[in-house]
């Protein structure tokens, strides 16, 4: 593990290196260098198995975190590459040329988080949602509960009591 991290540190400006387990580390790389980094990892360091790509919405910082988890099947280790991109007009370079299935991940991220990946094949096609006109639903500011209450039909006349409040009312 150390060798790989050392190699990456030599070539790329990575920070926040967190070793979660012996076989799993997280590193953070700047947006512009991320695709170059994972290309290097795939082609030269043996990280040939692409595990996943997903986003985390840090709405309070105005950032999306993209996490690419790569696996080296021979060394049996994983390195997760994180990169922070702005929530405003969020856009990221596509990685579909490295692994074909990444296009699917990027299609979903565009739909669910509103992150665009120009040049990714079929990225604007609907993936799961059809005719969605709200904000991308996996963003933190999309309130699932509110949406459900407005869209569906809650049972009328439901009521519950907070024990403390109820006792206060009853006993005082």
């Amino acid at each position: 593990m150390e060798n790989y991290i050392e190699d990456i540190k030599l070539r790329f400006d990575v920070k926040d290196i967190v070793s979660r387990r012996d076989n799993l580390s997280f590193i953070t790389c700047e947006k512009e260098k991320t695709i170059a980094l994972i290309t290097h990892m795939k082609n030269n360091l043996g990280f040939t198995h692409f595990v996943l790509l997903t986003a985390v919405d840090w709405i309070e910082d105005g950032l999306f975190q993209l996490t690419y988890i790569l696996n080296n099947p021979n060394a049996k280790i994983d390195i997760a590459v994180r990169t922070m991109i702005s929530r405003e007009n969020s856009e990221m370079e596509s990685a579909h040329k490295l692994w074909q299935q990444v296009a699917t991940y990027q299609r979903e991220l565009r739909e669910m988080f509103g992150i665009n990946f120009p040049d990714s094949p079929g990225v604007t096609d609907n993936f799961i949602l059809e005719g969605w006109d709200d904000i991308p639903p996996y963003r933190r500011d999309f309130d699932t509960k509110k949406y459900a209450e407005e869209t569906y039909f809650p049972r009328p006349g439901r009521e519950t009591n907070d024990p403390a409040e109820y006792m206060k009312k009853k006993l005082s």
């Binding site: 040939t48 198995h49 996943l52 692994w99 074909q100 799961i128």
Partner: protein, 398 residues
């Protein structure tokens, strides 16, 4: 087997068809009356869940395929962001109906790893047992299910019966048949009931008998062989290219198994070899799954023999009603019957997860891989190919 592949390849090389236009698009003119659009799904065909494939067909040859999902989307990943960690435990299981236990295990494991909780030995054994039982009941549907796609329904009925016997055991151990809700952060929810080992052994014996029968019915069946050997071929070069895992990768000669490569729970105390095949067609994948089934029987017997009788089965966790998990992120994986099944979990230090992302094998198998595999396939083989990848739409849409 190699020469058979040539015999059964119904069209030697169709890779230049349909033609590609100069701008890179396929030369498919729907108005030319040479092509028709055909939808397979999204009704629930039995073992695969609601998923649709939009096919463009010329004659009986598929020239273009596109997977459509979204019929099962309930946004579980998002729902979990608004739930306490303990409340995620009954939610996460629904991301895969076929083997919900892997979700329970991965959620529990993520929470434990992030908060540094040690799980008692007894719980580790019980978790291993439950995960293997989950694989067992899943394979009991999938192995004969492959024959079912070729209208050989008898095996499916046998399998469903035996699966129900396994579910009976689940019911005894966990109180539930399909959604077991047994592995929770900190441990599990109970020890084996009295007499469980004997009843387990009875069921395992019946399954052994079933394997002999299914061998005769499927694997020594000329129809099954003719329809599967050489069909649905996965080029080993695609394995990394498409993120292929589990039996689909193992049937292509890759000895990759999370249980062996990244041993979790008690797997490094169990004696087993990774099953594999090299032909990489539907038949090979079925054989791998049959071997998995036999392996699972063996593993369950090993677990039953090695497991202690009694012991603590749950660690004391902080009060679950306001359990804050330290900020951090992790990725944990396990080997489901479909392959690498993993949770990427992010905690921001609050009582609810910041993000949980499921990496399900079908996410790549059923979309980008299937779309590629179906091109130039015979229309009649489409669902066989799909089932041979063991697609599971709930884990695609989550």
């Amino acid at each position: 087997m190699k020469e058979q592949k040539n015999i059964f390849n119904w069209q030697p090389d169709r890779s230049k068809y349909p033609k590609v236009k100069e701008n890179g698009e396929l030369d498919i003119d729907l108005t030319s009356e040479k092509f028709i659009k055909l939808w397979q799904g999204p009704n629930h065909p039995g073992v695969t869940g609601n998923m649709a494939i939009e096919l463009t067909v010329s004659g009986d040859e598929v020239v273009h395929a596109k997977t459509h999902v979204g019929y099962l989307h309930r946004g579980f990943e998002k729902l979990m962001e608004r739930r306490l960690w303990i409340q995620c435990f009954p939610t996460c299981i629904r991301m895969c109906v076929a083997e919900p236990d892997y979700n329970e295990y991965l959620l529990a494991k993520s929470a434990e790893e992030l908060s540094g909780i040690e799980v008692p030995e007894m719980a580790e054994w019980l978790r291993t047992l439950v995960l293997e039982m989950a694989r067992l009941q899943s394979l009991l549907r999938t192995v004969p299910g492959q024959a079912g796609t070729l209208s050989l329904g008898v095996g499916v009925q046998w399998g469903v019966y035996l699966r129900d016997l396994v579910l009976d055991l689940f019911e005894e151990l966990t109180g539930g048949r399909v959604y077991h809700m047994y592995i929770l952060p900190g441990g599990v929810r109970g020890l084996l009931p009295d007499g469980f080992k004997k009843r387990m052994e009875d069921v395992l014996k019946k399954i052994e008998e079933f394997i002999v029968n299914i061998e005769n019915l499927m694997f020594k069946n000329i129809v099954f062989k003719k329809r599967t050997i050489g069909v649905g071929y996965i080029d080993p070069a695609w394995v990394d290219q498409f993120g292929i895992v589990g039996p689909n990768a193992r049937a292509a000669g890759f000895k990759r198994d999370v249980r062996k490569d990244y041993p979790y729970l008690k797997y490094n105390e169990l004696d087993f070899d990774v099953t594999y095949e090299t032909d990489s067609d539907i038949f090979a994948r079925s054989v791998v799954r049959k071997k998995e089934l036999i392996l699972t029987l063996d593993l369950i017997r090993q677990i039953m023999a090695k497991m202690p009788e009694k012991g603590d089965f749950k660690a004391q966790t902080p009060n679950v009603l306001h359990w804050k998990i330290p900020a951090g992120e992790t990725y944990v994986r396990s080997e489901s019957s479909r392959g690498e099944y993993g949770f990427y979990t992010v905690s921001d230090g609050s009582t609810m997860p910041r993000r949980i992302n499921l990496r399900g094998p079908s996410y790549t198998h059923a979309v980008s891989l299937l779309e590629k595999m179906l091109i130039n396939a015979n229309l009649a083989d489409v669902h066989s190919i799909m089932v041979s990848l063991q697609t599971c739409p709930p884990e695609i849409e989550r």
